[in-house]
Structures are given as C-alpha cells and as structure tokens.
Amino acid sequence: MFNSFFFFDIIFWIYLAAACCYIFYMGIKKEGLGHLAFALTFIGWLLNTVVLVVRWYETGRAPYANLYETMVLLSWMIVAGYIAIELKYKKLRVLGAIIVSIAFLAIGAAAMLPYRYQAIEPLIPALQSNWLVLHVVTTFIGYAGFAIAFGLGIMYLFKERAERSGRKSFFDRFPSSEILDDMNYKFIAIGFPFVTLGIILGAIWANYAWGGYWSWDPKETWSLIVWFIYAGYFHGRLVRGWKGRKTAYFSIIGFTAVIFLYWGVSFVLPGLHAYA
C-alpha cells in the first residue's frame, strides 16, 4: 500500500491544508497559525521528497519522465524555495499564501490527469539517458524560480495598488512593494540562467538523440518564446531601468507562457517532445 500514489494523495491534502493556513494567516494576525502553516509545509515537503524517492524506486529510473512526475518535482522545488525564503526572512511569511498555493495547484493539476498519464510506464529509448536528469532538473529549477516570481508579481500588483490608494487594506500584511519587487527580480535571476542552461542541455541532448540541435519542434519554439520574454525582462530591468509594475507584468506573462509551454504545447501541439 505504501506506493507513490499513497504519499502523493497525502501531500495533496497536506499542501492544501498548509495553503489554507497561510491564507487565513494572511487574514488574521495570529503567529500561531503561521507556525502551523510552516510546520505543515515542511512536513508536506518531506513527504514530497518521499514521493520522489518511492517513485524512483518503483520505476527504477529518475522519476522525471512525464507530466505527472515533473509536477511532483516542480512542487518539491517551489516549496524548497519557499522554505528557504521563510527561514531567511521570517517576516515574509505571508508569501506562503500564494507560493504554497501554487505548489498545491501543481499537485492538483497532476492529480487531475487521467490515470494512464500517471501510471508507471517503461521509459522510451530516446529518454533512457542521463541527459534526462540534467535537462529536466535544470529546466525545472528555472520553472520553480519563475513560478515563485509569478506569485511575487501578483502580490506586488495588489500591494502597489493598495499603497497608492493609501487606505488601510487587507494587503497591509504583505511585505512592502519594494521588497516584493526586489524578490521578484531575485527569483527570476535564479530561474533564468537555469532555464537557459536547460534549453542548451536539451539542444545538445537532441543532437545525440534526434540528430540535430534544433528542429523547431513546438516545444522548442515555445521555450524560445519563454526565453525571450524573460530576456526582455532583464533587458527592461537592467538597460531601461524598469521596475515595479512593468516587470511584475512581465513575470506574470512569462509564467503564463511557461504554463502553456508545459501543459498547452503537450496537449495542443503535438511534436517530437511528446512525453511532457
């Protein structure tokens, strides 16, 4: 009974409970609730690790080969990133309301997949390679960074608006817009090099596996679009001196494109990269 699905179902509910606690914590100023939310998040993350390890044992390979497995990996990375934020900046605990919710949504999306996409299947020959681990892990560190930046970007827009109106509001609990903007930048600065590296590793691997670095497969094309959006973010930020709202919008649009790259392209635009 202790299979990866069992632990997966547990983390689904733990992350849901943790996200709810963070959301209530945002509403009412009770530190105890914040501690509870963090404890649940931490337990959820430990069990998320267990899901990955058990799945690895069950499949006999690195468990990053399809949509379902990579969603478990993504939530693990997002929550790891969040735990790091919370340990470093205790005062930013309200960020959990949105970041842990995003991790929960990743798990929820995986749970919604039809069973045949969740089932363990032998790895197709093209994926039987150590490149799989390198390419997927680097890309997903990048996606996790973008996911966190996306959450921060949304919070920034609410907070900035509340600050401008000057009235007392629900968003008073959020960190100042300045902190949110700065952290948004930090997480994209982490995510971008990893996604860049992930694309490069993918191209090298494609050369081994498919005999060409780049074949304008829909996944490749869209990954390039995503790359350009975030490259535009850096250009705006570093060259043009953009800050605040503009870059927040960029981080939101960028992550929306990532979601399309990952879910949309896989289902809508079939191509070479058909596994996930």
């Binding site: 105890g32 501690h35 404890a39 005062k91």
Partner: protein
Amino acid sequence: MPELTLEEENRDKGGGKSTAIIIAIVILAGIIGAVWLKSSKYAPVMVGSTAPDFTLQDMSGKGYTLSSLKGKVVFVNFWATWCKSCKDEMPSMQTLYAYLKDRNMPFEMLAISMDRVTTQKEIDPFVRSLGITFPILLDPWGKTDGKYKLTGVPESYIIDQEGRVVEKIIGPRDWTTINAVEKIFGLLNIQPQPQAERS
C-alpha cells in the same frame, strides 16, 4: 533590499511553536488515516476483485450507483465521443441491451462517458445518432477513470450479481457474437440462441 525588522519573529518566541507542531502532527495523522482508509483504491482492478463503486448521473440527471445494482449483472463501458472504436462498438452493445431487456433479464448496462467539459455537448447528438437506449452516465471530472485505472477507451467490465469483476475487456468488441456474450449469458443462465446474433 530594504532592511527587514524582525520584531514579529521576536514577538512570540517559543509560545505558539510547540502547539503549532502538535496541531500539524494531528492534521498529518488525520490525513494519513483518511488516505489509509481509502487505500484499497491503489489495488489494480482485475478479474475477481470487487468493482470500484461509483455514483454518477445520466443525461437527465438521474443518479446511478453501482453498489445498488447488486443482484443484477452489470455491464460497465467506458467511452468517449472522440473515440472512433467506441462508436463502432456501441450499436452491438445496443443490440445486446435490447435483447436482454426484452427478456426482462436482471441486467444493467451503464456506458460512462469520459468526455470532459470540452466535449460534453457532443454526447447528446452522438447518442441520438446511434439510437442508444441504455443509460449514458456523465463523468466530466474523470472520477471513475482513476478508480478503474483506465488504460484508454473503450474499456468494459462485466460485473456479476455480487459486484465482482468477471471479465475485463480492453478495446472494442462486437457484442452480437456468441463468444463475446458468453460470460454474461453464463451469469444470467441463458442458453445462447441464434437470435442473439445480429437481429
């Protein structure tokens, strides 16, 4: 980055933390318990195992619960409007259904549509065009997909009077042939007659 004041952190040192950890462990135990109670769902659905129960509505909103059909032989079929071989299979299911209904056999046929919200509206024209009279159940959230661990559509299960799976059929079948209905007729104690074939 602006300097962060750590006043909030210092506000309640110790205090709420141990309580929070205890509550978190209680919640964890509750979740593990609840998931554990439902752990039978991780077992594969095979011949001989109890057919996973479900409650779904048909197109008119009438509810069907598998477990309430004990005493009847139940034919559960999973299909979708976008599935070509489902469309090929269904007329033969209709023939079988009509044949057994005419003879008032304790038999029920439930065809569960795996269409998600995007193709839901195509179910009604599909069913009309094929002249189907057996219940078509809707499962837009794929609740039964995970329970039955479907490998695709169509997939059919023959369930005996006690609710056990007697036969699991992956892919389509012509239900007007004697070989195809052997198990069903056996459970219903009918001798196959030539009329059972295409009428």
